[in-house]
Symmetry: D2
Subunit: 356 residues, 4 copies
């Protein structure tokens, strides 16, 4: 596969460039008879859309999804579901200034090197706009999981030096940072706006919790649930690291601390982050990932152009000073898709074979 | 695929349980005419073998590899290469005590839940002994890469609180920790032995550097080079997190700091860790991962047995107090396999099509 | 994968139902810098469109293709190419009569059994309209092959009892049967029209020739070129058999007849059909496949409805009395896609590794 | 994948060359708790072993299978099952005469062209000895199917001009031809022996019937059950064609004849061969395939050597004058593997999702 498909049984194939006609996805392998409305998908898409708050890009795009196949009278039919969003605001002129430039931190240089062709209108295929298709498919995955009592929630836990001190999951959609601590959200917002005014961007950390994954979901060895989640999350633009449970803190721990004890009432801790040997252990799946500060900034930086000339690059346009709040729904989508896919693998291969 | 295969063009499928007859691998898709000897493979295997030093398990197993197919007169033939190591020391009696127990931190519970069958003799399929096959295939991958001027090196940078302060790559194989700082190695060794005497284990951090990957290697969107490396590395037992370049530090950085500037002489920094948009940028690929303290300890811990009864569990046997030094060759192997696989994907699909 | 994707490196994923909004395809893994125009794709599509002649369905649909991604300024960019045709003529009322019926020879019964949901508007996903996406992707595959001197041509060799006696490939597009013998075409046409007037349909045989495939293309063992072509061709609706070279006649031959002798000037015969051990041998790849008579007929037949009641079924509507002429471009498309895919596999894995 | 793996959920990866150390297979994705003994696997292997009768090669190899992983106390554990047969009779000297020759009808030329390396000791990887691994895995697949009431049976229906007139499935293992008509078996045997004495070989046709596949098994569009079976069967050495149900006869039929009528008591005919739209329809799956006359003959034929010189080639050695009787168990194995794989796909993706 050439990199634009994810999943083995529940598979998504995304298409589209930031400044082409449209971006979208084919979701294949979706079980039939899942009730889903275009509004449910749109609702998830609205959580990632540009222009939703003062900490996101001022580009105001409706990003209205249309369904082209695979859903009949409000239910999935088991056939491929194609969903697409037309690219309405194509202000390609913003990009004329960078036509010949390789913008620092962007994929311009590597895509050009790989493919030998330059679509200079924004990020093209490497744009985060590609994640629209993931969110559409993720909305259906989340619906499937919800019906099985599985819940996915993501939230920002750190922006620059400001950490969430509380884990109040009820407030996540009440603040534009999508953090789990309203007090921290104020500081985070100030920090982002300050950077934004300076034409700069900031990094952040996002945490994801998955409740209710059945014990044993996850395949052995290479397709451990955590390995596939790492693959899924690291495929999101700007993500530079992931850790499960105690994560990097485990370097400082001893086995006697890290091993999660079990009693007849369940686990006494969750240092493992919800998997043992790569399979769900009945605990919450818990992981965190870091989002680098967005590369599109107006702070002048040294770069080169297609001809090797040194240039000072300023990326004008309307960009996100902190992408984390908009990455939250994308991370939920990729997590949901991965978990559904792994449940399907478990159903295919495991001990339930003759119980059809 | 059921989880025991990794790679798309250059694929490994491992087999075997820790206390079965043998463990091994089929490497498929290996280019023909690669000169490789059994000694070169054995050399890599010796770096991961038990009993190699006082910080590894005292089990002394030769782990002698045999090649069954795919190599003729010292050269790969393009057909599947099957390599296998017989399990010589099968001290199953060590495991009688834990026959009915789910050992805390181990995969006993999840494997039993998934498959409904218990092979109580050690970790079975979830044992780190499975990684022998990876190291065999990795030896061939490293040989291929070396011929193209691509070099992979891994080393321990932290054990408990003790960090390597230097990056002296020439000393890595000169100290039993496989760290890049001889001074730090002394403290790390002491720290490990102290835990070992207490029947306990310790965590660590390993860094990997890949030099010379051609620009553009890595597929777009889901099969980013970093996403696949994350998948590969998180599939190694005991690994709980990974970060590229500046990694989690990026949360504290601004775009104006994190964006790697470029001049006609090259990049001025490597916060990205060697990829842009998921493709190799010509910089070194740099990542770190954390290894949890090994689960097999003799410190008593609360657990349950197959029947739900609470038990105090002590995992006797001869285990590693710190697995990091032996994980180093496994990480190199998985990295090499991933990079070869991605180069092959690049060769298949990219602009070189009509240049055969 | 859930069945709607074909190919390993050069992959197509089709979507859409006969009476939904649209049908289309994502082609992923297409090499960059292939010059292709919408007109070139449309030309292939016109060869399969309904209403093109009196032996095809009288439905007259323009089937105009639109390109949504992956092509920039007339060249492929290496990113996914989404192509789509809107379903213009949705005369769903034709299908009200068969709303509850399982039409004999159709997939109504099996799709309903598999998915538990009925989209009664025509064949839904099982409709041959699905092949539109294949033809679009095939047009690009054929362009790629043409640039490497590889040519694919398909033609009808038999309709009912009427066989082509000549192999005049220059006349194929000059007769509505797409046969290689103008004399035979007259009898074939009469035979089809006679069946058509009786509300019936007829079967046929199509032959495909591929010239210029480089020696060695095709993977060993399971992914033999002939095995993948069989997979590709048998995936076309209504195809019930395939044979390579001498095909079923080989049952009557001896090894001394069947073995193709070789001199320094090349092969003296082509009983093998162009492959040896599943890899291209430098001879033409030659195969034939059979197309069953179309299932949609107005001759009354016994069937049952959703409730198990016996019904006499007449499939009204505007259907093809012989699908072979329209299958010809679909077969060329699937063949081209398979050959490009196999060339890419060969490029990825073979001895050219270090010659990038 | 590089061609040595088949299947998506229930996957086999074979390895080994005819004159290397061993040939074998890894079966991955096998459901756990399947009771299987080494004897059951050996029994299937004995049906394909050389030297079993006067119409097979006089090489007498025991082909004793050994199991290396994935089975514990007589049951599959859900982990990879590695099975291997050592190559005992390595009469490589037989091949010295053909060291530099490309034998007509063999894969010598194409393998050498693809890989640039020659293992002249017999067919190497292209030898039918590779199918040993398939038969081992097939034995487990057949056991799984038997437990679900699914039965696979294959038999020879034609050898040269001699056709089986009866379908007496009870006699198949009672005659060395493995045909379903004892009277015909006498003529077939004579015909084979006559060719054998002349140093020649003969072609044949084999029919396969699968009873009891649940309705709806088979994926839509590209992974139709018949398309995958065609892929599976055409991957067997010497197979040159396949047809389902009425097969090539369908060219002569009208829709009103070919459409299988249905009453409340079931189907009235089986022209479709057991699938509709590529999914099992509850009828028997019925297909036939043709086996070319074996290429290894002592009748002198024109060939060339590695240097392009013309040579007269006689393939000495001990070869099968008719491979069909030994292909029967291989065809059953590939069919069983495909059907189990498709049932698993159906379980993974279909409407049973929330019924785990």
């Amino acid at each position: 596969m050439a990199g634009n498909t994810f999943g083995q049984n529940f598979t998504i194939t995304t298409f589209g460039e930031s400044h082409g006609k449209a971006v979208g996805v084919i979701l294949d392998g979706c079980p039939p008879l899942v009730e889903i409305s275009v509004e449910e998908i749109q609702m998830e898409l609205n959580r990632r859309r540009p222009g939703q708050s003062k900490v996101s890009t001022p580009r105001d795009e409706a990003d209205a999804v249309e369904i082209y196949s695979g859903i009949f009278e409000g239910k999935t039919t088991g056939t491929p579901i194609m969903m697409m969003v037309f690219n309405k605001t194509q202000m390609s002129r913003d990009y004329d200034a960078v036509k010949d430039l390789f913008r620092p931190g962007h994929a311009d240089f590597t895509y050009f090197s790989k493919y030998g062709i330059r679509d200079h209108r924004g990020g093209g295929r490497s744009s985060a706009r590609e994640t629209i298709g993931r969110v559409c498919a993720g909305a259906i995955a989340k619906k499937i999981l919800a019906q099985s009592g599985i819940k996915i929630i993501a939230y920002v836990t750190q922006v620059g030096p400001h950490k969430a001190e509380k884990r109040d999951l009820s407030v996540i959609e009440d603040n534009i940072i999508r953090t789990c601590d309203l007090d921290a959200s104020v500081k985070m917002e100030e920090y982002i706006l300050e950077a934004s005014e300076a034409g700069d961007s900031v990094g952040a950390i996002v945490e994801v919790v998955v409740e209710g994954v059945p014990v044993g979901v996850g395949e052995p060895v290479f397709d451990r649930l955590n390995a596939l989640l790492a693959h899924a999350i690291l495929s999101i633009p700007a993500v530079k690291g992931i850790e499960f449970g105690s994560g990097f803190e485990a370097a400082l721990m001893r086995g006697s601390e890290h091993n999660d004890e079990v009693t007849k009432y369940g686990f006494l801790s969750n240092n493992a982050g919800g998997t043992l040997g790569g399979m769900a252990s009945s605990q919450d799946i818990v992981f965190r990932f870091v989002v680098k500060p967005a590369s599109s900034i107006t702070v002048p930086k040294k770069g080169i152009d297609l001809y090797g000339n040194e240039k000072i690059v300023i990326t004008e346009g309307r960009h996100d000073p902190c992408v984390a709040p908009r990455v939250v729904p994308v991370a939920e989508a990729m997590t949901a898709i991965t978990v559904v896919d792994m449940i399907m693998a478990d159903k295919a291969s495991a001990k339930y074979f003759d119980k059809k």
